[in-house]
Chain length 347, copies 2
């Protein structure tokens, strides 16, 4: 990575980074991170390492004995980075919980260059580009249908040409909730916590990013959204990366307080066979959105030598498709589908 | 449909069509069918009505009491046609069996016009086009993991501009098998029966359409095929539609002899929990192919007011995704994945 290369600890005053706290060793060499602590790339990698650990540990405290399996992996070309995939499968509380971080330095393929241009980035055709991407992505599918599924993803991109010019950087991300049954207090707590993180940075963020989320998680052919939304944003820039980084950090830190209370409230709720069946049908819709529409998944499919298992970690352990299943009007199952068709304001 | 309009029975000598034999009444008005019995549109509609009935009845004979649910539906604008969807769900032998026919007369959307042009059809930009499509499509997901899943689809298209010029017609289709465990004799019987149907029409068909099938049902990001293939073809034309119709008829009639013996052989095989789990994991891959790659599904998603339930009828009742599941080298589960990675010649 030009300009972000190796500087030995002896050359510069550095603070020691305690990596023992993380699920696994950082992807970038430790001395590179220590020597470049003011670089947004370093800050983002350390943030996602910490958020991954805190979230996994918080979920484990809701489990009965089971711990996350930790899979640290490298890309085919280890110089291009890698990731840490943490998965807890078939637990008492969580049927499938995946928390993945990726740190990647790689040439930007022609296909992805074209898609960046389509999104309004200036990338001269005659230049070769490399990009850096660091992100955390997580989907939690609990066993109990009264505990919603949560997804969040926070990511930082940098790109520049071979001469170090035509630089671009931006943040993207979001957190969204997919309940199987509508409990308004749960949805209000969830949206209220995200709104709090947004409001500390910009009074327009929450309403803009809430709408963006409702628009993004839309299964067009079904005429319904994947869940009750949350926040979603992309291409977020400012004069200084620090300003956006502070917002993304607050959003990532809002995940636990927005979600863990719902797990604690409902993980032991009584469940009928019909409720379990309904949950599996809705998980089928989750699969439909992720495979047909999700931009992150498509980006993964388009990345040469992508690590498919880390991308499809978002899919539930079980899903079900029945022909023409229609919840009975007035039933709790019907009530949630009405909200998926017509998004509401929650806070 | 210009040129294919209503001619009353009194105007022309006709043979009576016995519709009582079908799962439901034809989509096209009976007197229109009776008055145009030499028209390929009529022949195709009657063929798919008959094949649907024969296949559903043959499957019901393998069930314990359960019958197909028959759902005859019309498009939002009934003049544009409709279909008959037959579904048998949660049976003793078949976990989900769907056999759908569609007969459609509709304007060709700009999006589909562009995709037809990309496939080499001459469609002048300044003309409005209407199309006729009649097809049968079926996916059978048996309960026992030792019985393979089968899919087949045979379809006929006609299109012309508003002046009745720039006519195009073609057939497409195929039959393919997705076993969970490899039983070579089963695969040989299946491929051998399809080859027989092909060889009666053209000595090059089987090898060309077998390869086309292996190429089509490829999950690129997994580096594996959906199953052990079969035959697949599209845009099949000739001097006279009758010649291709005869081939398509033979293929459609080969479905029962290629598949029913496998159902009979294995529907009562002993099944372990691990074998059931493996079947559900492979059903997850089936979902992946259908939602990410399948052209028929994408065509459906792109059709305004498409009947999504009839399109997604192909998805299994249950599917499963585990992180990093790898069958043990040398195991029966491993053996089938080797064949999915490296297609073989079976006959």
């Amino acid at each position: 990575w030009p300009g972000g290369g190796h500087v030995s600890a002896a050359q510069k005053e550095t603070t020691t980074i305690d990596t023992a706290q993380f699920m696994a060793a950082p992807i970038t060499q430790l001395d590179t991170l220590e020597a470049n602590q003011d670089d947004t790339k370093t800050k983002m990698e350390l943030l996602i390492l910490r958020i991954q650990t805190e979230f996994c540990r918080a979920l484990e405290r809701e489990e009965v004995g089971q711990k996350f399996l930790v899979d640290r992996w490298q890309r085919h070309n280890p110089k291009e980075g890698g990731g840490i995939t943490c998965v807890l499968q078939d637990g008492a509380t969580f049927e499938k919980a995946g928390v993945n971080i990726t740190v990647m330095f790689a040439p930007l393929s022609k296909q992805l260059q074209a898609s960046m241009r389509a999104r309004g980035k200036t990338l001269p055709e005659d230049k070769q580009f490399t990009f850096f991407a660091a992100g955390i992505s997580s989907v939690i599918h609990p066993r109990n249908p009264h505990v919603p599924t949560i997804h969040f993803n926070y990511r930082y991109f940098e790109m520049q040409d071979q001469d170090g010019n035509n630089k671009h950087w931006w943040f993207g991300g979001g957190t969204d909730l997919t309940p199987y049954y509508l409990v308004e207090d749960d949805v209000k707590l969830f949206h209220g916590t995200l709104k709090g993180a947004c409001d500390r940075h910009n009074p327009t963020y929450y309403s803009r990013f809430k709408k963006w989320c409702d628009d993004y998680f839309f299964i067009k052919y079904r005429g319904e959204r994947r869940g009750v939304g949350g926040i979603f944003f992309d291409d977020l820039e400012a004069d200084k990366p620090e300003d956006v980084f502070g917002f993304v950090k607050d959003c990532a830190e809002a995940v636990i307080p927005s979600y863990l209370p719902l797990v604690k409230r409902h993980k032991l709720d009584v469940v009928s066979e019909d409720q379990r069946r309904w949950q599996l049908l809705r998980r089928g819709r989750y699969v439909e959105f992720n495979l047909v529409y999700d931009r992150g998944t498509k980006f993964g499919f388009a990345t040469p030598n992508a690590r498919i298992e880390s991308i499809l970690m978002s899919l539930p352990l079980h899903a079900r498709w029945e022909y023409m299943h229609q919840p009975e009007p007035g039933s709790p199952e019907y009530k949630i589908t009405e909200v998926l068709k017509n998004p509401k304001d929650w806070v």
